[in-house]
Symmetry: C2
Subunit: 325 residues, 2 copies
C-alpha cells in the first residue's frame, strides 16, 4: 500500500495526459477505499466538475448495456447533437465479485468500443470503500473528469436502492423500460419515475410498445409536478431498438434538450450544489457509523461491557466512555 | 428542567418506597430523554434486573389489551401459578401523541385494575428520547424494577418494527393471533414466529380456531430449530377468550413453564447479557447518529460547505474537519 500511495501523484499526472492504464489504477484505488482513495480524491476534486454525467438505469434484461453501447456509437458520430470525443462508461454493479480494471469481457457490445481511444469503459463493484458504491461512484466520476472525460455515462446492472441513488445523482437520468404489460408499473414501483429525466422504450419493435408508451404518459400526467420554483420538465419518451442502432438520434436529442433545459434554467448548478451537500452528509454518517462499529468490538469494549455486567456502569455511561475514549 | 433534575433523587427514593406518582414522574423523565433521563437511568440501573418481563404482541384488534388485563387478573389470584403482588403494565405505542403519565383512559378493561395498588399501568410513546422507544423501553423497565415491580408486562399496540424489537427483548414473549384464515401467516410475515415463546389464539370461541391451531403447529414444525447448543423450546399454543376470562390459567402455566425452562437451562442469563450488549451497541450508534445530525447543520457546516463549493476542500477532507472539530 505504501508503494501505491507514493505512486499516486505520478499516476494522476499520467492519467491527466491520457494514459489509460494509469486512469484504471486510480479507479481501482477509489474502489479499494482507504488512504489511497482519499489521496486520489484530493487530487481530482479541485480539477473535476468539468464533465456531464448521464445515468442509465432500468430492470435487468431491459437492454441497458446494448443501449449504452449504441448511445456511445451515436455520440462518436460527428453528426450527432452530442458529438463527443472523450466518453467514459462507468458500469455500477454492487453484486459483482469481479475485481475491476479490465474492460468488461462479458459485455460483448461494449467491445465494439474497446479499441476506440476516445471511449474509456470501466465496471465498478463495491470493495473496501467506506459507504459503498453510493460514495465511491461520485469519486470515480471526478477522477474520470479530471482525466478529461467530458461525458460520463453511468450504467447500472440492476435497480437496487444504491444503483437508483447513484444514477439519480447524474445530471440527466435515462430510465429504460421494455414493451409489455406492467413494465412501466414496475419502473414506478422501483422509484424510477421520480428520477427519470428521459424515458426510453427499448426493444420498441416488439408488441406492446404503444401500450407502454400510453402507460408512461399516464403516469407522467399523474406525477408531473415540478419542484417548487423550478420550470417544468416533462420527461420525453423515446423509442429505440438498440441492437439495430435504431432511434439513438432521438435519445441523443432528448438528452441534449434536457441538458439545455437544466443548464439555462440554473437547475444544473443548483442540483450540483445539493449533491455535494448530500455527499458531505453521507460521508459524515458513514464515517461515524464506521467508528460505531470499531467502538463495538475489541478489548476496550469488552472491558466496558464487563463494568456494565457488574452493574457498575449503566449502558449510557458505558457508551459515553467508549465514545469519548 | 433544572428544577426537575434536582428533584430526581428524591423522586427515586419515593418511588422505591412505593409512591406511584413519583414513579410516574420518573417514567416521564425517561420518555423525555436528555440529562434527566440519564440521571434516572444511572440511579435505576444498579438496583434493576430484579423483575421478569413478559412481552405481549400481535396484530391490532387481536385483543392484546383485553388479554393483558385478564392475565393481570389471573396473576392477582392467589391460586395462579404466577401469583404476584407487584405487577407493572407498560403499553408501548410509538404512534401515540398522548403524553404519558396517566392511566390509559381509553383502555376500559385496564380500568378494572386502576384502583389496585398492586398493579401499575403506564403507556409510553416516543417523545424526546434519543434512539426512540427501542432505547427508552429498557430504561423504563429498569425504573419499574427498581421501584419493586417483580413482573413487567410489556404490551404493544401494533406490530411495527420497533414494537416487535421491544417485545422480542422480553424474557418471555407472547404472540397473540385470532382464529381465521391467514392470521398465522400474517404473524409469520410480521416476524413474530422468531420471537414467540408462547402463542395465544385469542377469541377461541370463534370459528376457525382449529385451523389456526393447525397452521401454527405446521409453521412450528417448519421453523422449530433451536439455537446452537440451546435445549429446544417448542412454543406452546394456548387458546383463550380473554373477555370472558377463559383460558388464562393455561396462559399463566405456559409462561411459567417457559420461565422455568430458560432459567434452569441458563438461557435467561445468557440472553440478558446479550441484550445489554445489544443495548450498548444501539446507544453508541444512536449517539453517533445524533452527532452526525448536529454536524450536518449550523454555521460550521455552512462554512465548510462553502470551502467545498469553492473546491478548496474535497468532501472527505470537509467531513473529517467537521468530525474532528
Amino acid at each position: 500500500m505504501g508503494r501505491r500511495q507514493r505512486d499516486i501523484p505520478a499516476l494522476f499526472d499520467a492519467a491527466r495526459s491520457g494514459h489509460r492504464a494509469s486512469l484504471a489504477k486510480l479507479l481501482s484505488a477509489i474502489e479499494r477505499g482507504g488512504d489511497s482513495a482519499r489521496e486520489v480524491g484530493a487530487l481530482a476534486f479541485p480539477v473535476a466538475g468539468t464533465g456531464y454525467t448521464v445515468g442509465i438505469t432500468g430492470a435487468p434484461g431491459a437492454g441497458k448495456s446494448t443501449l449504452t453501447s449504441a448511445l456511445v456509437a451515436e455520440m462518436r458520430s460527428d453528426e450527432s447533437v452530442l458529438s463527443a470525443s472523450n466518453i467514459a462508461v462507468l458500469a455500477i454493479d454492487p453484486s459483482s465479485p469481479f475485481t475491476g480494471g479490465a474492460i468488461l469481457g462479458d459485455r460483448v457490445r461494449m467491445q465494439d468500443h474497446a479499441l476506440d481511444e476516445s471511449v474509456f469503459i470501466r465496471s465498478m463493484a463495491t470493495r473496501g470503500h467506506l459507504g459503498g458504491l453510493a460514495l465511491a461512484a461520485p469519486e470515480a466520476v471526478r477522477v474520470l473528469e479530471a482525466a478529461g472525460r467530458d461525458w460520463v455515462l453511468i450504467e447500472t446492472v440492476g435497480v437496487g436502492q444504491v444503483e437508483v441513488e447513484v444514477v439519480g445523482a447524474a445530471d440527466t437520468t435515462v430510465v429504460v423500460v421494455n414493451p409489455g404489460w406492467g413494465d412501466a408499473v414496475q419502473a414506478n414501483k422501483a422509484g424510477l419515475m421520480e428520477i427519470a429525466d428521459v424515458f426510453v422504450i427499448n426493444k420498441a419493435d416488439r408488441a406492446g410498445t404503444a401500450d407502454t408508451h400510453r402507460d408512461l404518459e399516464h403516469m407522467l400526467d399523474l406525477s408531473g409536478h415540478p419542484a417548487e420554483g423550478e420550470p417544468y420538465w416533462r420527461p420525453p419518451i423515446v423509442e429505440t431498438v438498440a441492437n439495430t442502432n435504431t432511434g439513438l438520434e432521438g435519445l441523443a436529442e432528448a438528452i441534449g434538450a434536457h441538458r439545455a433545459h437544466i443548464t439555462e434554467s440554473g437547475i444544473l448548478a443548483k442540483r450540483r450544489d445539493q449533491r455535494v451537500d448530500d455527499e458531505l452528509r453521507r460521508i459524515i454518517v458513514a464515517t461515524l457509523e464506521h467508528r460505531a462499529g470499531v467502538l463495538s468490538e475489541g478489548k476496550t469494549f469488552d472491558a466496558v461491557r464487563a463494568e456494565v455486567a457488574g452493574r457498575r456502569l449503566d449502558p449510557w455511561q458505558a457508551a459515553r466512555q467508549l465514545i469519548e475514549g
